[in-house]
């Protein structure tokens, strides 16, 4: 684990200071994207979207959100071997995020409920959610088209 503040030179956000405790190690990277060291960037504590930013690739960052902000009934179910692989123990100590596909209009924003990102004790894993109702593209703002963007 790094013990000093890291300066991230992000193509999106410019120079960002990352405290060592904000660094998340992904032993097997993100699915299909790889990468090992990331940090969560948030504008403020209540931000709807936060960013999972690579500390290795200044251009690699994915918006994430707290799934329960949009999907009250969201559940994560892990296969036994996957739970064992990532070693999740106490659910309350695990932060759960889902990746967000942004779009021109809000109605086209979606979240991937099938492959949430679990973070606990500085370690992150993108897992396959076995829950029955967990599409890869769940609309975030379906039926809110009357609200101006």
């Amino acid at each position: 684990m790094p013990t000093q503040t890291i300066t991230l030179e992000s193509t999106r956000f410019g120079s960002v200071e990352i405290p060592p405790e904000a660094v998340v190690d992904f032993p097997t990277g993100l699915i299909g994207l790889g990468g090992r060291r990331y940090a969560i960037l948030a504008r403020d504590e209540d931000a709807t979207f936060v960013w999972l930013h690579s500390l290795e690739d200044p251009d690699l960052a994915l918006p994430l959100t707290n799934p329960w902000r949009f999907f009250a009934n969201f559940e994560v179910e892990l296969a036994d071997d996957e739970a064992e692989r990532i070693g999740v123990d106490e659910a309350e100590e695990t932060a759960v995020y889902v990746t967000v596909r942004a779009a021109e209009s809000l109605e086209d924003f979606s979240a991937n409920l099938r492959a949430p990102i679990l973070i606990a004790h500085g370690s992150g894993h993108q897992v396959i959610n076995q829950a029955p109702d967990a599409p890869v593209r769940a609309p975030l703002f379906a039926n809110t088209s009357e609200v101006a963007a």
């Binding site: 299909g32 994207l33 949009f70 996957e82 990746t99 596909r101 942004a102 099938r114 039926n143």
Partner: protein, 73 residues
């Protein structure tokens, strides 16, 4: 691509640690058993592709995302 003929009960080794076993062949389906170290995640390919595509699409997002969004109720 390496192509090997195997019968049910026969196995293939990927390196020293990953074992793939043909369990059963039934019509057009093949049941496969995979024994891999914990550090190696195993995915069905079509799901891996779908998640990879979502990750790549997410990574295209612009730095400016809307704030103060209406929440679904």
């Amino acid at each position: 691509m390496l192509i090997i003929t195997r019968r049910p009960g026969e196995k293939v080794m990927l390196g020293d640690d990953v074992v793939i076993e043909v369990i059963e062949v039934s019509g057009s389906s093949v049941r496969i058993g995979i024994d891999a170290p914990r550090s190696i995640p195993v995915y069905r390919e079509e799901l891996w592709q779908a998640v990879k595509a979502e990750n790549e699409a997410a990574a295209k997002a612009d730095a400016k995302l809307p704030d103060n969004l209406p929440l679904k109720t």
